[in-house]
Amino acid sequence: MSLRARLETRLLPAILVAAIVIILPLFFPSAYYYRIGALVFIFALAVVGLNLLMGFAGQVSLGHAGFVGIGAYSAAIGPVHFGAPSWLCLLAGAILSGAVAFAVGRPILRLKGHYLAVATLGFGLLVAIVLTNEASWTGGPDGMSVPALTLFGWRVHGSDAWYWVSGATFVGGFLLAFNLMESPTGRALQAIHDSEIAARVLGIDVARAKLTIFIISAVYASVAGSYLALFNGLVTPDEAGFLRSIELVAMVVLGGMGSIFGSLVGAAVLVVLPQVLTVFHEYEQALLGLIVMVFMIFLRQGIVPSVTVALAGWRK
C-alpha cells in the first residue's frame, strides 16, 4: 500500500477524532459539559476495547465491567494502601487486568455463544463480589476515596483537565485500535469472526488470536476504569457490576459492532441520553428502554454502519 493510502486509512480517522476533541469545547457553556465529555471519552475507551472483542473477534462478554473495576480499584488501593503514585498504579492495574484476562481467558474462550456469555457474566460478578466483600482493602459497598492524579507535578483536577486527559488518551487508544485492525492480527480476527473453521484451515492460531484480543480489550477497560476512579475521586463496586457490563455492551451494539468510530457514538448516546431524559422524570427509564429498542429495530447494525449505508444508498 502506498504511503499516502496507508496514512489515509490509519491517520485520517484519528485526526478527525482529535479534531472533535479539540473543537467540541468551543460549544461548552459550563464545566458540566466538560464532565460529560470526559465521561464519554472514558467510556468510549472501554467500549473500543470491548468492540475489538465483540465486533471484530465475535466473542460476547457480559462481564467486561470486571476489568473496569480492577483498573478503578488499582488506582484507589495502590496510593491508599501502598503509597504508590497514581500513574504507576494505573499501569499496574492495566498489567493486572491483562494477567487476569490471560488466566481467565484461556479456559473460557473455548466456549461458544451464550455459554461464553454466561462465563464472562460469572467472571464480572465474581470481581464485583470480591470488591464488595473485602472491605479492609476496598472500603466495601460504600467504596473508597481516590487521591488525585499528579502528572509531572501537575495535579489533574477538575472536569476540564480531565476532558483533555481522557480525550487525548482516547485518540491514542483509537489510533491503536485502528492500527490493530489493519495489522495481520486484526485481519486474522476478522477471518475468525467470519468463520472460525475456515480461519483454522488457513493456519490461523484461533485460540491465541482470541486470547490476545481478550487481553487487549481488558487493558483498555482497565485504563478507562482507572481514569473514572481518578476523575471522580471515589470508586464503588458498582463500577464492576452487572449493570455496568450491560451498559458497555449496549454502547458497543448501539454504536455499531465492528465500527471503532461507532464506539464513540455508542458511548456518547448512552452517556448523554440519560442527561437529556431527566426532563421526563419518572418516565425516564421507560423512555430509555423504548429508545434502545427502537434503535436496535431500525438501526440494527448499530448507528454508524446503518446511517453510513443509508447515506451511501441515498447518494446514488
Binding site: 485520517l12 467540541l24 475521586g233 454508524v304 454502519p305
Partner: protein, 385 residues
Amino acid sequence: MRTMQHITATAAIGLCALLGAGLQASAQIKIGSVLSVTGPASFLGDPEKKTLEIYVDEINAKGGVNGQKLQLIVYDDAGNANNARTFATRLVEEDKIDVMVGGSTTGSTLAMIPVFEDAKIPFISLAGAIQIIEPVHKWVFKTPHTDKMACEKIFADLKNRKLTTIAMISGTDAFGKSMRDQCVAVAPKAGITIATEETYGPRDSDMTPQLTNIRNKAGVLAVVNPGFGQGPAIVTRNYQQLGIKLPLYQSHGVASKQFIELAGPAAEGVRLPAAALLIADKLPSKDPQKPVVVNYTRTYQQKSGQAVSTFGGHAYDGLMILVQAMQRAKSADKAKVRDEIEKTKGYIGTGGIVNMSATDHMGLDLSAFHMLEIKGGDWTLVPGT
C-alpha cells in the same frame, strides 16, 4: 466509504453535544436534589422525593421564603455514585442552585461532597453513615441519625435486659455493612460481646442457613439485624419459621409500617430504634415532637397515598432546616445560609430535636431515638426509652 462513516459519526456526536443544552430563568430560590429514586436504594429515595415535592409546593402556596418562590430540581442517580457526581456537577454548573438537600446513600453523598465543597454550596445530606459529618466538612450537614447512634441505642437496651452476648446478621448492602461496622466498633465499650456474625445479599429470598448457624452457636442471647428494604422482613419470617425464640432487634433501616405487614405475625416482639415519626399517634401529648410528626404523617399519607417512612421524614427535616436558615439569614446567600444552618438550635423535626454547632453538623443525640417494640401488629413505645 470510510470517509462517509467518519462524517456520519462526527455529525452524530455533534448532535449529541447539542442535545445537552439546559435552560435558565427566574428569580426563584433554587433547591437542588440528587436522590436514588430508582435502583437498589429506591426504598430511601422515593419517599424522600415525594416529601420534598409535597412540601416545596406547600411552602410556595403559602408565599415562599423571604417573598421568593422555591424551585426544586430533582435528579435520579439510580443508586450509582458516578451518576450522583455528574448530577451534582450539573446542579452547580448548569442549574446554578442556591442550596442542596439530597444524597440518599452514603456512596452518592461522598461522591458529591467535593463538588459542593468546591462550589461553596450548603449541602444537607440524607444518608446515614457517620463519616459524612466526621470529620466535619464546612459545607456539609446531615439530618438522619448516624448508624453509630442506632447501635448505641440497641446495645443500651440489650444491656438493660441483660442480653450481653449477641449474634449479628447483616445485609451486604452499604446500609447494612456500615451499621454492622459501627456496631462492632461500639460493642466493647457498651459491654456487648458479638459471638458470631452472618451476612445475606439484600435481594436474597431465604436466610435460613445463616439463621441456622446462629441458632446453633452456644451462648447467643439475642440477634441484631442491620439492614434495610425487604431483607429484614424475610429474616424475621425465617426467624419464626425456624422457631428461634431469642429476642430479635431490627435496625432503623426498617423505617415503615410496611415491615410489619410484610413480616406478618413473625414481627411480634421485634424491637428496633426509631424516630418519633413511627409512633406519631402514640406519643404523649406533651412531647414536643408530637405536632410535627402528626402533621407530617397526615400530609404525607394524604398526598402520596402511602404510609410514612422515616427516610421521607429525614428529607422533611432537611428541607425545613434549609428553609428556616434562609428565613433567619433573610436571604439565599450561600455563605449566610450555611452559617445559619450551623446555628440551628431547638429545631423540632421528625427525627428529633436538632442542635447543631461548628463541631456537630447533625445535631441529634441519643434521645432522638426511641426503642419500639411490635405488639399486636403495631408499634409500641418501650417505656423509659
